[in-house]
């Protein structure tokens, strides 16, 4: 058997913590007492011990603070300041808490340090819109090589096809052209147009990416335009007709082929011997990946009553902007419908956030170009927040745009014109509006294909759970960054600042020779879980880190495992273990910590554990028999752990974590809730009152509520 040497450091926090008379943990476990372990001497001493390969227990202040000094050593923390001394509990309690920590360490696998070499100091940016362009520019400016791939023949993305930007109606050329020129002249950036991501392998620091490149870029194209003349394929591109081979004033500066509509008839090759219709594959080796694939308009044809593509002169905002700006149409009376297909359970249930601005922007464009045009906007709620509200006020006050609160039910043909039927909520009656042209301000969906190839789970929706701007930064797996509207619809200015943030993170990441991680990681015991096993844990990982390998076995991608333990708690066979929070370790901790009549409180380190600390700071208190165990996520706690607490004598068990929808690991608390409620249904058969097992959502400032709950559970 492996000999595990353990050392217990006990810090009295400048003699403010009373220790029990006897600090003896048996067979050769040394106890070293300090009055300030966070001093340089203390830290040095812990480092020495860890260096020798010993495991350490640190009893002292809350790990919230201690982690600052000792985090890299992966100790087992025992919080004897906030959770014993400061709340006036008996020093004797310290013994059982330290014992629990010792047993947990003794029965846990070592957390091995993982070293990821940063082999490739280069970045793949997927998508040549504003997000991708800005990220590429910033990263390249710091000296890192960037491959910028774009599936269309030209850079520019959505903004490249539009005329103006909200809130002021700024022509997009204000920023787009200079951005593109910066990209084009930057020697650190290789732009690869007409190319798509096929497959990604490897891990951060060392991804190998297979891309498919179609056609070619003609270096010395003289823009004679004969290829476009002979091309027989006409397609609609956001409201305007063009050929399958066309020119767009962004980059590269040549005619390019839209291979999604090209029939490969070869007529263009007859007039130009520089063109190619060939395809080739390329492998790129990069250290990090930026996904800036942007968004797509919701297919508003599905909203039957609006007759999109059936009625003439019903357009989406993008179609309209392109047609209007190019002078193709000049209507006298326009109705703009907000939330076309948005905030509607039959279509997009969510608010796409930017479409109110886009509708208002079109109104401003019309009024700027053609002030005599009559413009009416139908809306449910005007979500033009913050500084953007100026746009709404300007249109209303200065430009005479009419606003009607109500979502139109249908658009009808009325001779050459259109009739919009809507309710005016403020008048409280149905009304009809005549229009030459109706603009549908639709919501957005992501360009989700790329996410699947990157194993980012989002079911075709925006990967909100994955994106670090929504949660804290450490819930984003290392190395793959989602930027701009690919994450959720954003305006240009927000996109640019996000692209800069991400560039900063990537530069920081790639400026290391290697990244060392010593964090709990889930691992699969191949002796228990084989090639055709149940695989249920695979789907429970919020990050796609648990996967099926080529042999059909379950594996864990170490570089993106965040250590939540949701998969470990799922596994019914013990094959899946979160090292550092192993089943054996937690069960041993529970057994050593819990005495007859105790209350076992498993508190999530991201939320309720901090609430427990706050109880001390607020001068409150809870019963002495409450034994708190710190867990990475409520999703790590399985029925086995709870049953162990009861069998060790606990009279009640509390599992408390982050508020619903706000789990640090996305879904851990919901899974915990299902497990706990299911277990409660069975506890009655064991003659244990189900009320003795509770699951609660407790934010870090909710100390009073935690106290109340603990008191209730002590009754």
């Amino acid at each position: 058997m492996k000999v595990i040497i353990l050392k217990v450091f006990v810090c009295t926090c400048r003699d403010t913590i009373n220790l029990p008379k006897d600090l003896n943990f048996g067979d050769g476990i040394d106890v070293e007492k300090f009055s300030n372990l966070c001093s340089d001497d203390g830290i040095k001493r812990v480092a020495e011990v860890v260096e020798k390969g010993e495991k350490v227990v640190i009893a002292g202040c809350s790990p919230r603070i201690a982690d600052r000094y000792f985090g890299e050593f992966n100790p087992e923390y025992v919080n004897i300041r906030e959770q014993v001394a400061h709340i006036g509990h008996s020093p004797e309690k310290i013994n059982s808490l330290i014992n629990g920590a010792i047993q947990k360490l003794r029965n846990s696998e070592d957390i091995e340090e993982m070293k990821f070499e940063i082999k490739e100091r280069s970045v793949l940016v997927i998508g040549g819109g504003v997000a991708g362009l800005e990220a590429a520019r910033q990263i390249a400016n710091s000296g890192i090589k960037v491959y910028l791939i774009e599936k269309k023949p030209f850079l520019g993305g959505v903004v490249g096809t539009l005329d103006r930007l909200y809130p002021k109606g700024t022509p997009n050329s204000h920023n787009l052209y200079s951005l593109i020129n910066d990209i084009a002249k930057n020697e650190n950036i290789e732009v690869i147009t007409n190319s798509e991501l096929e497959k990604v392998g490897g891990e951060f620091g060392n991804y190998n990416v297979l891309i498919r490149v179609r056609g070619n870029v003609i270096e010395d194209c003289d823009l004679c335009g004969r290829c476009e003349e002979v091309c027989p394929v006409e397609v609609e591109d956001h409201g305007l007709m063009r050929k399958a081979i066309y020119y767009m004033p962004t980059y590269p500066d040549n005619y390019g082929i839209d291979f999604d509509s090209c029939t490969k008839c070869g007529k263009c090759l007859d007039v130009c011997n520089k063109l190619s219709l060939g395809e080739k594959e390329r492998i790129l080796n990069v250290g990090a990946i930026v996904v800036a694939t942007g968004l797509k308009q919701y297919d508003v044809e599905k909203v039957k009553g609006y007759g999109y593509k059936k009625l003439r002169n019903v357009f989406t905002h993008w179609d309209f902007e392109r047609k209007f700006a190019s002078g193709e149409i000049n209507p006298g009376k326009v109705v703009i419908i907000h939330c076309a297909g948005s905030r509607d359970d039959n279509h997009l249930a969510y608010c796409s956030r930017i479409c109110c601005f886009l509708g208002l922007k079109e109104a401003k464009l019309i009024k700027d170009v053609s002030p005599e045009t009559d413009v009416t906007v139908c809306y449910i709620d005007m979500r033009s927040y913050g500084v953007f509200d100026e746009l709404y006020e300007t249109l209303r006050r200065n430009h005479g745009v009419k606003f009607i609160n109500g979502r139109p039910a249908e658009i009808l043909e009325n001779g050459n014109k259109l009739k919009v039927r809507t309710e005016d909520i403020l008048l409280g009656k149905p009304i009809e509006l005549d229009a030459d042209c109706v603009i549908l301000s639709t919501g957005f969906v992501p360009d989700a294909e790329t996410f699947e190839k990157l194993n980012i789970k989002c079911n075709g929706e925006f990967p909100t759970a994955y994106v670090n701007s929504i949660l804290s930064d450490d819930s984003n797996p290392h190395g793959v960054y989602i930027c701009g509207s690919a994450a959720f619809p954003k305006g240009v200015s927000e996109t640019i600042s996000e692209a800069r943030d991400i560039a900063m993170s990537i530069v920081n990441l790639l400026n290391n020779d290697s990244i060392k991680l010593k964090t709990p990681i889930a691992r699969i015991n191949g002796k228990i879980c084989g090639a055709i096993d149940c695989r249920i844990c695979v789907d429970t990982c919020p990050y796609g880190a648990v996967y099926l390998n080529e042999d059909g076995e379950v594996g864990v991608n170490e570089s993106i495992c965040m250590g939540c333990g949701i998969c470990t708690a799922t596994c019914a066979s013990g094959a899946n273990q979160l090292y550092g929070f192993d089943d054996r370790g937690i069960l041993a901790q529970v057994e050593a910590t819990i005495n007859e009549g105790d209350i076992a409180a498993f508190l999530c380190k991201w939320s309720s554990y901090n609430a427990a600390d706050n109880i001390a700071y607020k001068g409150l208190n809870y019963p002495e028999n409450v034994k708190i165990m710190r867990i990475p996520c409520t999703g790590r706690i399985d029925a086995q752990t709870i049953l162990k607490a009861f069998s060790s004598g606990a009279k009640s068990v509390l599992i408390a974590g982050c508020p619903p929808d706000a789990c640090h690991y996305n879904t851990g608390n919901f899974k915990a809730r299902k497990r706990v409620i299911a277990l409660r249904e069975m506890l009655g058969q064991f003659n244990i009152d189900p009320e003795r097992l509770r699951i609660e959502w407790i934010g870090n400032q909710e100390a009073e509520r935690l106290v109340r709950i603990l008191n209730e559970m002590n009754k």
Partner: protein
């Protein structure tokens, strides 16, 4: 002189006799066994032996003792101890000896409740004075005794030291032969060995699993036409496979019957029933993770007897062991 024959002994405690039949199921191979081994006793079913005769055997004189059935009265406890003393190697044979088995489910009740049901409340019982078995009865100067019925059911290793564990209800002829062959050849497994696979039962099951494992409604096997190709869990039928050891070669599953867990948990799992309930609860629901308490409860209520379903063969060795 011919090599001395091995001595084997068999004893049944609180069991059903299925393990006796299982041994006979090795068919003519039994003749091979008898070729090299003497069956010293096979109590109480197959070979006649008085307890006194067994008790008088020298300690350690039986090479391998097989005990099947759980331990739930004083007679069984006594014989388990006798068998332990007499045997060089003691095998806990079948789920009941390993982990309490079906009799182990009695741990959700106690002696008083069991007596009340068995000797009073069953429809066919007429016992107005509620006469129950007594350990000593004085019949006109003759003292009659009965073994004491215990309040709870024990697995064999809670009573005596066990060398080899053979789970399954009952063990398959193939596994029985593996053990006998090992004993005969002198290739005895190390102490504490479990004659079973290390992996989960799923590793022996060829059924197709869906990508997204979800349960939205739970069926009992008779309530649904079971697809022979698809994983039971994907069909809403509780199959203990993921929480159960391999080794039986998925015999039930191949007969289109879900696993009931008689092999017990793998070596790194510490509460078969809790683990299975946990796994099932994890895949409750459709796409959205969030379910209301009512939704979760209503799914759980579709499992008629959760404790009996999840701990069918394992209750005395589970973390809680018995009703509180």
């Amino acid at each position: 002189m011919a090599k001395e024959k091995l001595k084997l002994g068999f004893y049944m405690g609180a069991g059903c006799g299925g393990c006796d039949i299982a041994v006979l199921d090795i068919h003519e191979k039994l003749l091979d066994v008898i070729e090299v081994a003497d069956i010293v006793f096979w109590a109480p079913i197959a070979a006649d032996a008085k307890y006194k005769d067994i008790e008088e055997l020298p300690d350690g004189s039986v090479d391998v003792g097989f005990y099947w059935g759980a331990v739930r009265n004083s007679e069984q406890e006594h014989m388990a101890k006798v068998l332990r003393d007499k045997s060089k190697i003691l095998v806990a044979f079948g789920s009941c000896a390993v982990s309490g088995g079906i009799p182990g489910l009695a741990n959700i009740a106690n002696r008083e409740e069991i007596f009340r049901v068995v000797y009073k409340e069953t429809a066919s019982t007429d016992n107005p004075e509620f006469v129950t078995p007594q350990t000593i009865y004085d019949d006109g100067g003759h003292e009659l005794t009965l073994p004491e019925f215990y309040d709870e059911v024990y697995a064999l290793d809670e009573i005596v030291d066990v060398d080899i564990y053979m789970p399954l209800c009952p063990p398959t002829p193939k596994l029985i032969w593996t053990v006998i062959e090992a004993v005969v050849s002198g290739n005895i497994p190390p102490k504490g060995a479990i004659i079973a696979g290390d992996k989960t039962l799923c590793s022996e099951c060829g059924r197709k699993k869906s990508e997204k494992r979800r349960i939205t409604k739970i069926y009992r096997p008779h309530e649904i036409m079971l697809d022979q190709e698809r994983c039971f869990l994907d069909q809403g039928v509780i199959c203990m496979g993921p929480a159960t050891r391999a080794g039986c070669e998925a015999i039930c599953i191949n007969a289109n019957v879900p696993c009931r867990g008689c092999m017990g948990p793998t070596k790194e799992a510490f509460d078969q029933g809790g683990n299975m309930l946990n796994l099932i609860a994890t895949i409750f629901g459709v796409d959205l993770e969030e379910m209301t308490e009512e939704e979760i409860k209503s799914l759980m209520k579709q499992i008629k007897d959760p404790l009996g379903t999840f701990y069918r063969f394992y209750l005395p060795k589970s973390l809680l062991r018995r009703r509180r």
